[in-house]
Symmetry: C2
Subunit: 355 residues, 2 copies
C-alpha cells in the first residue's frame, strides 16, 4: 500500500483517488484556499460537489491548514492545482515534501520569460523548492486524454506518465494502473508537457465552428461545420510538431496520447470550447471574459496569452519564422486584440493554397 | 471556362459542382445505373434528393445512356462513384475518356490481391483503361476532410489534390479553388490514398464509445466516453503511420488533412459511426448488416474487410509484425468474426501498458 497525498482538490486531482483507492492505496485530499467548500463537503458527506460524485471510501479530506498531517508519511505528492496555482504549489511543496517522495503533477500550461522563452510548469514548480530537497525527490507529470469525471466513474482512460527517470515512471505507473486506467510512460518530459499546454490553446479554436453556425442562424441546420473544425485540427497537429522542434520535444510525441489524443478530448467540450464558441458567434473576447463567462477559469485562453504572446518575441529574435504557427497567431489576435474570427486559411499547411 | 463531367451523381460528386459553378465552369452530372432517380430529380426540378439541395444553375444532368454526350468536349472527368464502383467506373472511362483529359477521383478505399498486397483505387481504376489512352490522360484524386453537404452549402473546407504530376495538380487546384473551398496539393499519391481508405476503418471504431454507453444505459449520463474515443483516435493515428511505412506513403502525410483531418471528420458522424455504435452496444455485426442497417452502404466496413483481412497474410509473409496494427486487427475481428468490442488496450501504443 502506498500513501498518496493530493494537493489541490479540483476535479482532476480528486479523480485520481478512484484508481488509487481501487488498488488499495491510501489517498489524502488536501484543498487549497480556494477549495474550502469542496473539502467541507467531502468531510461532511463524502460528496465532491464539482465532480458530482462521492469520493471512494477511505479517502480522507484535509483543509489547507491540516496539510502537514496529510503529508505525514506520504510517499507520493500528487499536484492537482491548475496552471494559475503552480507557483503557489511549489511554495507549499517546499514546506511539505520530504526526501524520497515522488511528485506527480496534473497541471497543464507553460510559462514565458520576459524574452519569450517558454518553460514547462514542473520546472517552474520545482524551482520554488530548495535545491537539496528538490534533488532528493522525483518530478513527473500525467498527460493524455483524461476527462476527470470519466476517470472517476471508471470509464476506460489511456494516459502517459512523463518525467526524466524511466524507473520512477514505471514504478508510479504500477501504482495507478487498473483495469480501466491504462498508463504508458515517456521520458520526453518537455515534449509531453508542451503538447499538454499547447493543445489547450487549439481547443479554444474548436469552439469557433459552432459559433459561426450560431452567428449565421444555422445551428439547427443539417450541414454543420465539421470540415472547418477538422481542418483546424489538422493545422493544429502540424503546429504541435512545430512546437516540438522549437522547444525540444520528441518528434513523435504529438502523434500519440499527449498530442492528438488529448487535443481531441479537449476539443469535444468544456469551458474553453464554450468560450471559443462565443467568439465564433461574433462576441468580442473581452466581452466573453467580462460578461458571458465572468469569473470562469479559462486555462486555454491563459495558455494562448502566454504562448501566442511569446511568438512575436521569438519571431523578432529569429527563432521562429514569420509564417510559422499561423493558427496560434490568429488565436492570440482573437484573445488579446479582440479580433474577429477570420481564419487565414491561405497560410495553413505550409501556405500552398493561394486563394 | 473548363468543362467538367462528373461520373456518379452521389453526394460527393454532386457537391463538387458547387465550387466549380461558382468559378463559372460548366458541370455535367452523369448518373450511374444506381443514380437513375437522382438524375430524374435533377432534370425535373434541379433538386438532389440525397443532398437535399438544389444543384447550381447551369449544371446539366445526364442518365448513363447519355454519357457520351456528357463527355463530348469535356476536359476533366470527375469520378464520384464509391469504392464498390471503381472497376465499373474504370470500364466506363475506357469508353468515354479522350486523350488529354484529366481524371480526378473522390473514391476512397483499397483493394487487396489474393496474397494480401494492397493497392490504391486509382490504380485499380486506371488499369481498366487501355494503355495508350491511360497514358494520354492524367490521374489524380481528392482527399481530406470534406463532408459533401458542407462543401455544397459553401462552408469552409480544406482538401488536398493528390497525384503524380505537380503541374497537373496545380492546374486542377486553380480550377476548383473558391473563397471557401481551399485546395492544397501533394504528390504523395500512395500516402494520401492509403490514409483516405484506412481512416474509414478507424471511424467505424469511433462509434463504439457511444455504443458502450447505450449498452450500460448511460447514454444520458453526465460522463461520456470521450477518453475512450480519444485514446482510439491516438492509436489510429499511430497505425496510420504504420500503413505509410508498409505501403510506401510519406511519413508526414498522416499528420495533415489526408490523415488526422479526414479521420476526425469521418469520426464525427455518418453511417459507419452508426454501425460502430450498434456493435458497441452489443449487437453482433452480422445482425447490424442483415437487420439494423440492411442495404446501407458501409464503405468503412468494406475497407476493414479488405485491409484487416490482408493483415494475417502480410503477417504470415513476414511483412508485418504480429503485434502491429492491433486496433485494425480488433476491428476486423468485430466485423468478420462477430467478436464483441473488447479493446486490447495493453497492445496499444507499442504495448508498454501491462495491465
Amino acid at each position: 500500500m502506498t500513501t498518496v497525498t493530493v494537493l489541490g482538490s479540483g476535479v482532476m486531482g480528486t479523480a485520481m483517488a478512484f484508481p488509487l483507492a481501487e488498488n488499495g492505496h491510501e489517498v489524502r485530499l488536501v484543498g487549497t484556499h480556494l477549495d474550502r467548500e469542496i473539502i467541507d463537503s467531502v468531510k461532511k458527506s463524502g460528496l465532491h460537489p464539482n465532480l458530482d460524485l462521492g469520493v471512494p471510501e477511505g479517502v480522507r479530506a484535509y483543509q489547507l491548514e491540516e496539510a502537514e498531517a496529510a503529508f505525514e508519511g506520504a510517499e507520493i505528492a500528487l499536484v492537482g492545482v491548475n496552471s494559475f496555482g503552480v507557483r503557489w504549489a511549489g511554495e507549499r511543496l517546499a514546506e511539505l515534501l520530504r526526501p524520497g517522495m515522488d511528485v506527480l503533477a496534473v497541471t497543464k500550461g507553460l510559462e514565458a520569460t520576459e524574452g519569450g522563452d517558454l518553460r514547462i510548469l514542473p520546472d517552474v514548480m520545482r524551482e520554488r523548492v530548495p535545491e537539496e530537497l528538490r534533488e532528493s525527490v522525483s518530478w513527473s507529470a500525467i498527460v493524455g486524454p483524461a476527462i476527470a469525471g470519466e476517470v472517476a466513474v471508471g470509464h476506460e482512460t489511456c494516459v502517459v506518465f512523463t518525467g526524466e527517470e524511466a524507473e520512477v515512471l514505471d514504478r508510479l505507473a504500477g501504482i495507478f494502473r487498473t483495469e480501466s486506467y491504462h498508463v504508458w510512460t515517456s521520458t520526453d518530459f518537455v515534449g509531453c508537457e508542451v503538447c499538454a499546454a499547447v493543445k489547450n490553446c487549439y481547443a479554444f479554436g474548436a469552439g469557433f465552428m459552432d459559433g459561426l453556425l450560431d452567428r449565421e442562424g444555422k445551428t439547427e441546420n443539417r450541414y454543420r461545420r465539421f470540415n472547418y473544425g477538422s481542418a483546424l485540427f489538422a493545422q493544429a497537429t502540424r503546429e504541435l510538431a512545430g512546437w516540438m522542434e522549437l522547444l525540444g520535444g520528441r518528434s513523435d510525441t504529438p502523434y500519440g496520447l499527449p498530442g492528438v489524443g488529448d487535443m481531441l478530448v479537449t476539443s469535444l467540450g468544456g469551458r474553453n470550447v464554450r468560450a471559443g464558441r462565443f467568439v465564433g458567434s461574433g462576441v468580442p473576447f473581452s466581452e466573453v471574459r467580462e460578461k458571458k463567462m465572468k469569473g470562469v477559469t479559462l486555462e486555454g485562453v491563459a495558455a494562448i496569452e502566454v504562448i501566442g504572446g511569446a511568438l512575436p518575441k521569438l519571431t523578432e529574435r529569429g527563432e521562429v519564422g514569420a509564417g510559422d504557427f499561423p493558427l496560434m497567431r490568429h488565436l492570440h489576435e482573437v484573445v488579446a486584440e479582440d479580433a474577429p474570427v477570420a481564419m487565414p486559411w491561405g497560410t495553413f499547411f505550409g501556405g500552398e493554397s493561394s486563394r
